[in-house]
């Protein structure tokens, strides 16, 4: 097993998951890269913190009144799951089908939408779009409960085409109206009562009541429609079927996947005017989309095994989103070995860094990439990472210190200490300049303090300090 094998798999785990501990990397590397991709795509029975534990010790995360319940609930899942790609894809879809609390006012409805992504997010894009169109939170978010036969509301139909599947320039205003007609009668049950409670943020008398989809045939316009050049008495399912046949849809979803997993593309509004950074990659993904009957799993399999994904030139080119950073650190420190109140702090820390789960800034989701960074968020991000890795009471940090002490004591030099720290936080690769600075930092106090016969507390403290310095590097903030 060579270093480059480990580093490549570390890259895969940062992108397809939230990073990996050194033990996990060792196990993945022993199986090989392609087998690890398969494990990510088909993780088997998921291991994670159980809902029973979460609901007992933080009961507000059971009824999920609001986003401060649904967000932390999801954070627990991301921080403890053995199926990290599944949760990464939930973040991916949440960023595209961005649905926010301020209009929905129902924590469980938002959590249910993420649960729907979890079930369908790696399957057929057609099925996912269909389930999205029936999702109660989405219906309220884009007003489809107000989309009636003879009195259409275009909001959902417009965003379905513009932001969820094809992108501007691929359809006409008439297509939008015909699309909206096809989705008339797609609403939520008890619309009047549930919408009123939502508008009033009413949890009276007895807390939230779950929403469910309802199709009202008497309110559906079943007349003939002409949509994207096809004519028929289309319902919503037919419209989604036609959307998924489009080249524009294939390119749209391919470009999103490429941007999320490989390299930042400009914002969606720029796509009609800016060609993809890697046209060949988009063409490959588009082909897989059609060949596999719109399978997201097949597109990801092709992507993760591609040269453009594996290339060292793509490593560390993306800035971790706040949630990716917070979850990655939590998985490294292992702090959520049981439900802990700190989950609320971690949820709010991501908000301070610019990302509130279940509350994207608009229907366009978050701007990715360097947009995550400004002077305030950089300080918050570095402070967070260094604080967490500096807390030797956390089980994951303790384990790292133990292994670093073993690894570095045999040589006892600043170089070996830095090398061991970089290795333990996930086989990080740093530039020569960064390495030099880290070694200089590790040299403060001389080599005596690193020697195996130095007082145990002193040596461990040095390790913690170097770990914190590693957490402050640029590559730690990137993936």
């Amino acid at each position: 097993m060579s270093n480059s094998d480990v580093e490549l798999i570390a890259h895969l785990m940062r992108r397809a998951g939230f990073g990996a501990t050194r033990d996990q990397l060792h196990a993945h590397t022993a199986k090989g890269y392609e087998a690890t991709v398969e494990d990510l795509l088909g993780p088997g029975a998921e291991q994670r913190m159980g809902d029973d534990l979460i609901r007992r010790f933080q009961p507000e995360l059971s009824g999920m009144l609001n986003q401060n319940s649904s967000g932390p609930n999801w954070l627990y899942r991301m921080a403890t799951t053995s199926a990290p790609l599944q949760e990464k894809m939930n973040l991916f879809w949440h960023g595209i089908f961005a649905t926010g609390y301020p209009k929905v006012i129902h924590g469980k409805a938002l959590s249910d939408q993420i649960r729907m992504f979890r079930r369908y997010g790696l399957g057929s894009f057609q099925t996912l779009l269909l389930e999205l169109s029936k999702d109660p939170a989405m219906i309220i978010w884009l007003d489809n409960q107000d989309n009636h036969k003879g009195a259409i509301n275009e909001n959902f139909g417009r965003e379905l085409l513009e932001l969820f599947s094809m992108g501007v320039g691929s359809y006409t205003e008439t297509d939008i109206q015909e699309c909206a007609r096809a989705f008339t009668g797609w609403t939520i049950a008890n619309r009047e009562y549930m919408e009123l409670r939502s508008q009033r943020d009413s949890d009276w008398p007895y807390g939230r009541i779950s929403w469910h989809f309802e199709y009202r045939p008497e309110d559906h316009d079943d007349g003939e429609k002409e949509f994207l050049g096809q004519r028929g008495n289309f319902n919503g399912e037919d419209v989604i079927g036609i959307i998924c046949q489009q080249d524009a849809t294939a390119r749209f979803i391919s470009r999103h996947i490429y941007s999320f997993f490989v390299a930042d593309e400009p914002g969606v509004p720029q796509w009609p005017y800016t060609p993809p950074a890697d046209e060949q990659a988009i063409e490959q993904l588009t082909q897989v989309y059609f060949d596999s009957n719109y399978s997201i799993t097949e597109m990801l399999r092709a992507l993760f095994n591609s040269d453009y994904f594996k290339s060292e030139s793509s490593w560390y080119t993306k800035v971790k989103s706040p949630v990716e950073l917070v979850v990655g650190v939590a998985r490294l420190t292992g702090e959520f070995d049981r439900p802990r109140r700190e989950v609320m702090d971690r949820y709010f820390r991501a908000i301070y860094m610019g990302q509130a789960l279940n509350n994207p800034p608009s229907v366009e989701g978050w701007h990715q990439g360097a947009d995550w960074l400004d002077t305030g968020t950089v300080v918050e991000r570095v402070n967070f990472a260094t604080q967490q890795l500096g807390d030797a009471s956390k089980p994951g940090v303790q384990a790292m210190i133990d292994r670093i002490a073993l690894q570095s004591e045999q040589v006892g030099t600043p170089e070996s200490l830095v090398e061991a720290c970089l290795d333990q936080v996930g086989a990080l690769t740093v530039s020569d300049d960064t390495l030099t600075e880290l070694v200089e930092f590790a040299s403060i106090g001389g080599e005596d303090s690193l020697a195996s016969d130095s007082p145990d507390g002193e040596a461990r403290q040095r390790i913690v300090e170097v770990l914190q310095m590693v957490a402050a590097t640029q590559v730690f903030q990137r993936c």
């Binding site: 009824g63 401060n68 949890d203 008398p205 807390g207 609320m344």
Partner: protein, 341 residues
């Protein structure tokens, strides 16, 4: 389509519902336990949300919906709570409240004035890790579910450690994150052995006497039971939290009946809907007992849709008249039952 389960009748009879969601004053907010004083005063422990000060308090009312005020607030000072969990009342009317985060028991008089506290975090005798359920015997000895230490500890009324029993295990006498505790007329101790999906009975000295139930959702089976209560005839009532129901066993552990919940509008809820006319009218036109295909066909999901069902029944308590009080965290209310005449 799955049919709505009809409650099995014949033994338990629904009486009424108490409560309404409210972060302050009259009402409950994420209630986790209740206790009933000899004078019929119902004390409800409101947990609220993590790191949220509003909502944390003990509400004082009665089953008839009379409201007597609240005591306690969020914080770490004397008489304050951070994650209040269990509540019990002794023969003198003193009220004991456990706190899962502060790892202590606070004692109040019947009017809610702070008297004392005991307990500290740890694993030694008398120390606590996440204390939850509380129960008193006839001598006012206090049994505490010392949850993450997987044991029950017995204290005198003034907080002196007496003994403990249990350790992490699924064999007889072992415990896994115990929650609710009860003492019967013979002074035997019943424990809702949450993580082991069963109820266990112990002698006052902690000797294992019996185990009731196994994992599952059938008759006489449990999934993460939260609370237990025993009446003077030896019938055992269990809030089967993970299955969102209440089970009744006879004194030998034989299955008697189960109920899913029958909530109606409490006095406070009816008052709210009569004032908020538009919401009341919309509610009257809504179908709150839909028959649908659930995304996940489990009881948590069903109860989230059907409002009258128990949702997170965190505790079950009896009053002196034999009425049963089921506290539901997610519905901010207490459903009251009695034995059918």
């Amino acid at each position: 389509m799955s049919a709505i389960e009809k409650p099995k009748t014949g033994f338990l009879e629904y009486v009424l519902t108490v409560g309404i969601s409210a972060m302050e004053g009259r009402g409950c907010y994420v209630p986790v336990d209740s206790a009933i004083g000899n004078d019929g005063v119902l004390y409800v422990v409101n947990r609220s949300q993590v790191n949220v000060a509003r909502g944390v308090r003990v509400t004082m009312c009665n089953a008839e919906g009379e409201y007597f005020g609240t005591f306690g607030s969020y914080g770490e000072g004397d008489g304050q709570f951070t994650s209040p969990s269990g509540i019990a009342i002794d023969s003198q009317g003193r009220i004991y409240v456990s706190d899962e985060h502060l790892h202590r028991i606070s004692v109040f008089d019947a009017g809610g004035r702070f008297l004392s506290k005991f307990g500290a975090p740890g694993t030694q005798d008398g120390e606590l890790d996440t204390p939850s359920g509380l129960a008193l015997d006839s001598q006012d000895n206090l049994y505490v579910a010392d949850t993450y230490n997987n044991r029950i500890q017995k204290f005198t009324a003034d907080g002196q450690f007496q003994l403990s029993f249990g350790s992490l295990d699924d064999g007889n006498g072992g415990l896994n994150l115990p929650w609710g505790v009860a003492v019967d007329a013979k002074q035997d101790v019943y424990v809702a052995d949450w993580g082991n999906d069963r109820i266990q009975r112990f002698s006052p000295d902690g000797e294992h006497l019996a185990t009731f139930g196994t994992s599952g959702d059938g008759d006489g089976e449990f999934y993460r039971p939260s609370g237990v209560a025993v009446d003077n005839d030896g019938f055992i009532y269990v809030s089967d939290w993970g299955n969102e129901r209440v089970l009744v066993l006879n004194s030998e552990g034989g299955f008697v009946t189960s109920v899913m919940g029958d909530a109606t509008l409490s006095k406070w809820a009816a008052n709210f809907l009569s004032i908020n006319v538009e919401e009341g009218a919309a509610r009257s036109r809504a179908n709150l007992e839909p028959e649908i295909d659930y995304f996940v066909p489990d009881s948590h999901e069903k109860s989230s849709h059907i409002e009258k069902y128990f949702w997170a029944p965190a505790s079950i308590k009896l009053d002196g008249a034999g009425r049963l009080y089921v506290t539901e965290s997610n519905r901010h209310r207490i459903q009251v039952y009695k034995r059918a005449s």
